[in-house]
Symmetry: C2
Subunit: 398 residues, 2 copies
Amino acid sequence: MMVNFTRYLPTHFVFGRGVENQTGAEIRKLGGTKVLLHFGGGSAVRSGLIARVEKSLADAGLASVTLGGALPNPRDTKIYEGIELIRREGIDFVLAVGGGSAIDSAKAMAHGAVYGGDFWDFFSGKAAPERTLPVGVVLTMSAAGSESSNSCVITQESTKTKRGLRSELNRPVLAIMNPELAMSVPPYQIACGATDILAHVMERYFTNEPDCDLTDRLCEATMISVVRAARIAMKDPNDYAAAAQLMWASTIAHNETVGVGRVPDFASHQIEHELSAMYDVAHGAGLAAVFPAWLRFMLEKPDKVMRIAQFGVRVWGCEMDFERPDRTALLGIEAYERWLREIGMPLSFRELGAKPEDIPAMAGNVRRTNPDGTVGQFYRLNTEDIERIYRIAADRDD
Amino acid sequence: MMVNFTRYLPTHFVFGRGVENQTGAEIRKLGGTKVLLHFGGGSAVRSGLIARVEKSLADAGLASVTLGGALPNPRDTKIYEGIELIRREGIDFVLAVGGGSAIDSAKAMAHGAVYGGDFWDFFSGKAAPERTLPVGVVLTMSAAGSESSNSCVITQESTKTKRGLRSELNRPVLAIMNPELAMSVPPYQIACGATDILAHVMERYFTNEPDCDLTDRLCEATMISVVRAARIAMKDPNDYAAAAQLMWASTIAHNETVGVGRVPDFASHQIEHELSAMYDVAHGAGLAAVFPAWLRFMLEKPDKVMRIAQFGVRVWGCEMDFERPDRTALLGIEAYERWLREIGMPLSFRELGAKPEDIPAMAGNVRRTNPDGTVGQFYRLNTEDIERIYRIAADRDD
C-alpha cells in the first residue's frame, strides 16, 4: 500500500536544444547576481560550452567567477577550495556545468559556504544543513540525476570515505538540460550513465511495500525506455531522441517521480560506494558489478523471487514460468547482465580492477543505514551478506 | 523527437491517510493567514471533513471564512460571489475542499480577486492573468487533476459557454491528498473520475511527435494502472490501494509528469465541453461518449492506425495483427469501450440525455484552438469532422 509521503520539487527545468544559452536569463529570474561557475576538465572548455555559458551570464548582466577541476568521485579538498572562493567573492548562486560530480561538488560548496562549521559535518552525520545557496545546473551527462535529486555524494580524500547526504536542500533550483551536450560524452561514460539511471529506478523498484501498482509501472516504463535508449545511443551517439530519453530518464529516476509512496532499498549504492572510493572506478561501472550480484543474492530468498520474476517479465520480456517463478527471475537477472555486457560494462572484480582480498575491509566500511547495523530495506544485509554480494562479483573471474 | 519544454511545479504535495489534519500547518508554512474555505454540497459537512479542516486551520492560528455551494461544471455566478467575499474579508489564501469543480472555482476566484476587470476576461481570451492569490486543495475526488494542473474550466451561466483557461498561475501551491476521502464518493462519480484521468493521459498519448519513447511508456503505465484500479474500486470502494493509485494517477495525468516534450491533442475535451455545458452531464460521462467516437473517427485515417494499434497492444493487451494493424487498433478501441461499460459509463447520446438535433449547434460552439479554425493537434478537426464525431456517439442508439 502506498505509504504517506510529501513531495515538493523546487527545480525549474529548461529542456531541449540550445537551452544553455538561456542560463543567464533564468538565473537572473531566480534572483542570482554573482555566479560561481564550477566545471570539470578541459572538454567543456574546448567544446566552447563554458564560453557560451559565460556569454549567457554576461548578456544577462551577471558577474561570474570560474572554478574548474571537478573530478569523478568528488573530493572534499575541492569543496573547501570552492567554499573559500564563494565567501571571498560574495557569490550568491552556484552553477555547475557538468554531470553528477560537478553538481554534487556545487551542492556541498553551497551548503558549506553558509555554515559556520566544517561542511564534512553534513556527511559524517554530525550536523544537518539548515540553509544553502541556490544551485543551478547545466547538465552535460545523463546519469546521476543530481540535477533535481535530494542526494549529494562526496569522498573524504584522506580517509577514502565516500558518504552521501540526503536533504531537501540538495535539490537545485534550476536545471538547464540540452541532450545534445550529452551526445559528445565518450560511449563508456554514456553506458556508465545508463547503468546508474537503471540502478536508481531499481533501488526504488525493489520494495516490500505491497500494491503500489502505479509506481511499479512507472518504474518499469522508465527502465524499458532506458534499456532501449542506451542500446540506440551506443550504436549512434548522434541520435537526439535516444539522448533525450536518457537525459529526462536520469532526472525522473532520482527525484521520486517514479518512487513516491514506497520504501526504497539503496543497499547496492552503499555497497558500490566502497568500490569507487577504494579504486576510483566510475560509479556506474561499480553498480554494474554490484547490482546483478545483489539480485543473485536475493534470488536465494524465497519471498523475494516473485518480485524479481516481475522484473524479468515486465522489464526484460521474459516468459513467466508459472511452475518455477525462480527460473523466470533468473532469466531476468541474466537479461540484465547481458544488457550490461552489451553496452560494455564490467561485471567482475578483475574488469573493475578490484581485489577480492579487499572484500572484508570494504564490507566493514559500507555505511549501515539501519539502526541495527544493517543496510537495505528490501532485505536487511549484515556484514556477512555484504561480503557474499562482493564475493559473487569477484567469483565471476573464476 | 522530444520538443523543447520548460517545467516548474510549485505544488507542495502531502499524500496519505489523515493528512487533512495538517492543512492548517501547511498553509501557515506557505504564509497564509486568512483563508477562504470553498466547498460543494452537504456531504463534506455531514462527513465531518469541513469541521476537521476548520479545526486544523484554527489550531494553526489561521482565520477562515467558508463559502459552500461549489457545483459540478462551476458557474461564473459563484465566482463573482467568491471574489466579493475575498475582497470584503481580506482573504490571502483560497482553499478548495472537494474535486475539480471546487478547485477550478477557487482558482478563478483567486485570479479575479486581484484583477481590476471582469474575471471572465481570462476565459473569453480578452486578458491573461498576471498574478493571483495562492490556492490550496483538500482533494476529495480523483478525477480532474486540478490539484496541480495549469487548467481551469468555468461555465458562463447566461450563455451556457464553457471555457478553459491555461496558465501557470492555475497551479495550486498546496495539495492535501488523502485517498480515504475519495472512497466515500458514489461509484458513478468514481467511474467518471477514472474516465477523466484516462482521457487526460490519452490527450497527451495521441501525438504525432515521433520517438518520445519514455513519455509514451509513462502514459501507458499510468493508463494500465488506472484501468486496473478503477475495476478494483468499483468492486470494493474501501480498497485503499486502488483509491491511492487513482488519486495519484489523477495528479500525474494532468501536470505533465507523463506529457513533457510532446504536443497534446485536447480536441476531445473541447468537444465534450459542449455536451456538459448544454446538458449539465458529468465531464467524465461526456468524455466516455466523445473519446471512443474520436478514436473511431481517427481509425479511418491510415496514418493514425499504428498509434491506435500501439494503444491496443500496450494498454489493453491486444495481440498485434502484423498484417492488419487496423484490426488491432479496432480491438483496442473496443477494449476501451468495454471497460467504460464495465464501470458504468454511458457511451451514447440517449444514455447521456443528449439530443442528436443539437449536434450542429454544439459543433458550432466547440472552441477552435487553432488559428485556422480547427481543433486538435493529432488531427485538425473542422466543423464537419466534429459533427461526425458527435454523430458516431449518437448513432450508438440506432
